[in-house]
Amino acid sequence: METAPAYHLILEGILILWIIRLLFSKTYKLPETYKLTEKEKEDLIEEWQPEPLVPPVSKEHPAITYDVVTGPPSHKIIINGKECVNFASFNFLGLLDNERVKEKALASLKKYGVGTCGPRGFYGTFDVHLELESRLAAFMKTEEAIIYSYGFATIASAIPAYSKRGDIIFVDEAACFSIQKGLQASRSFIKYFKHNDMEDLERLLKEQELEDQKNPRKARVTRKFIVVEGLYMNTSDVCPLPDLVKLKYKYKVRIFLEESLSFGVLGEHGKGVTEHFGVNMDDIDLISANMENAVASIGGFCCGRSFVIDHQRLSGQGYCFSASLPPMLAAAAIEALNIMEEDPDIFTVLRKKCEHVYSALQGIPSLKVVGVSFAPALHLQLERGSGSRVTDLQRLRSVVDYCLDRNVALTVARYLEKEERFLPPPRLQA
């Protein structure tokens, strides 16, 4: 073996010493100029003043004093002591004080008590719930239906169950507040199109298609949805459903239809806007409605194909983490459905009355009627606003008071001014 040359050994020795030094030397720290001393921290804690938990609300704010209703809110309603004809509740089919509905609810109360004491997953599923779900599915001629215990939570839980971060939702500007909350909870990209304007929607869809072609891999996993309402709460008109279905197949987007106002109102048998236009039920991916309007109960439901609806049983937050609907309200809803099925004439009667009221309200000086003629909920708007929302609201409130004095109950439509995305102008709701 050759002995290594001397310089080689010395070099290696120096390298080893260098490594040892590096291993044991202290790490180099940047001088910590941002670390606070304990005294400074305590000073900061003392100085900091948070805002008050709630800002003070002036006593004249219209929303603090509610009108007090004594007695049942049926066709005649006692507001603030005066008995009036009720033009302000959403009791479209008059089922609120129907004797049959009340009887069934009473029978259910005697059998099941009041509350369910549990969510659906933990012994909160009653046979009435299962019956209501199958009846709703049969009524709407879909495969399956799922019930929620509160109308607001229905669409607000359904949207985030399917649409996640990165997906795209096209929604009408006039969408109601619960849809907006559902969109917010889903964290997807939201694209608004002008109210009932199919050209605007098509323009947005075309833009999206161009983007997709640039990035096909991403497009293959991005889900796209259109969310519309059957009868809009904020403007009382109907969405153009056949055009939407054409757009659906052309651009491959799914449709979620919110039918809170149109369920039990539109269509020959009250099945909603799909029956009104004669659209095939299978073309709509999800129909969601609440039972607090025509059906005169509490809660909401979604119906559609099992492929779509079954997913909500594990991922609908308002379904899994909340107590189920009290059985007497479910029984009331079943009986209401029975009445709707037995007697389809009530829908024609309702429609006639709506048209009558609509034509009677035309031509009132300085108030214009917003909405289609067969909508059961109309808006009366000031023709010329004064420019200030507060004065407009005060004027409308005086109109309401005037009507109350003459025993007709109307109400100012309520909106949360700071939260709505597209705030509708002040109006009355009838």
Binding site: V57, F152, Q317
Partner: protein, 513 residues
Amino acid sequence: MKKSSPQSGVHPRQNKQESFEQPPMYVAVMTYVGYGLVTLFGYFRDFLRAVGLEKCHVAQEREEQKDFTPLYQDFENFYTRNLYMRVRDNWNRPICSLPGPVFDLMERVSDDYNWTFRFTGKSIPNVINMGSYNYLGFAENNADFLKSVADRLQRYGAAVCSTRQETGNLSLHEELEQLVAEFLGVESSMTFGMGFATNSMNIPALVGKGCLIISDELNHTSLILGARLSGATIRVFKHNNMCSLEKMLKEAVCSGQPRTRRPWRKILIMVEGIYSMEGSVVRLPEIIALKEKYKAYLYLDEAHSIGAVGPTGRGVTELFNVNPGDVDVMMGTFTKSFGAAGGYIAGKKELVDYLRSQSHSAVYASAMSPAITEQIIRAIKCITGKDGSTEGIRRIRQLAENTRYFRARLKEMGFIIYGGDESPVVPLLLYMPAKVVAFAREMLARKIGVVVVGFPATPITEARARFCVSAAHTRDMLNQVLHHLNEVGDNLCLKFSRRKHPSRPDPCEETNS
């Protein structure tokens, strides 16, 4: 392994009672092995389905829509398809009677391993109910008790068909809110139609961008959803750990908002009274001390604790002898102890007035049904004794006694249970996935209905069965349940506790020492 607690002003009873014992090491290992095996099987079955050897039961997309973007990603549903489906007969069990201390279950069978169920038409009568949230036994259908509710239903109908701000504000609602405020000892309160929605619709009204929410690790989904919808920054502190909370508060006040360093507009601490999965009770006096020091606001969600703890059922504020005015926002639900539905928020008059005008629920969601309102009124009158009877106090005492007895016997048998001794929510740890399922099915065969929870509602190694003790349970029922638990525990080797417990401790001695 007991939890450590800081020295400041701690209620002397607290230290002794919360315990979160860790299991022996082999249990954790076997749990992971169990999940691993099931996952491997899952992949294998997916492969068989893809190849066509196994029939695919999963619902399919429409033919016309096959070229749309798929609605669900394959891996999102992996857990549902392969793990949940096989054992899902333990959840969503339908009942056909009232959810009292005993109930009737509908018998359902499956011919294809739980993909579809079929009802035989028969029912399983008199199953002891250890799963419903019926703490004070108000889930009852006694005609006398329910007379006023039936009257209201007859008079008002089932619902209101309008929002609170429009024509939905009945005089009945105002009466209820008055009663709730008196009951809790605060200035005023406001009620809502759904407990879940109470949180998700009111937290955004209280905090917004530029505010900080510090919430407990194990908070309920409704609190988390409300916090996310509000737009505020959210930070999470370790469950019931006051050191973690203090550190976070100090850091928040000193450093301010993340990038701009501006001071926070408000800081809101969100905690629950009793945590439904752990059974642990919040450390209220310590949190209030911290809140005063750092000028934060406290949001207390008493969904499970209102009516269920405290000498007169007024919740954790009474349990710890704290002034209810110290808690800024008291929230609770009526579903559990009052046997109805809905929620409330209570506090100072300014807070409630603000919510009356700004809450999403008051403006857009329908008001509470009149019959349900009457039930809550009746329940509160019963608890406070306003209806002239001592039924309320009797139920509260019965609940406390049942809770103590049940917990003491379980500990003595050698099970690991979590939570404080006053909490009527008793989680019994099972750990391994197969045992969870076997436990639930075995208890049903012995006519006891239990609730089991596993991943993802709990951490992966801590699957458990959760018992809810009720004032309506008699000593005999509890003894029957305990007897069967003993047998099943021996058969399935569930007694993991390594602590020595004196046999038959007197429940009174434990709490007074």
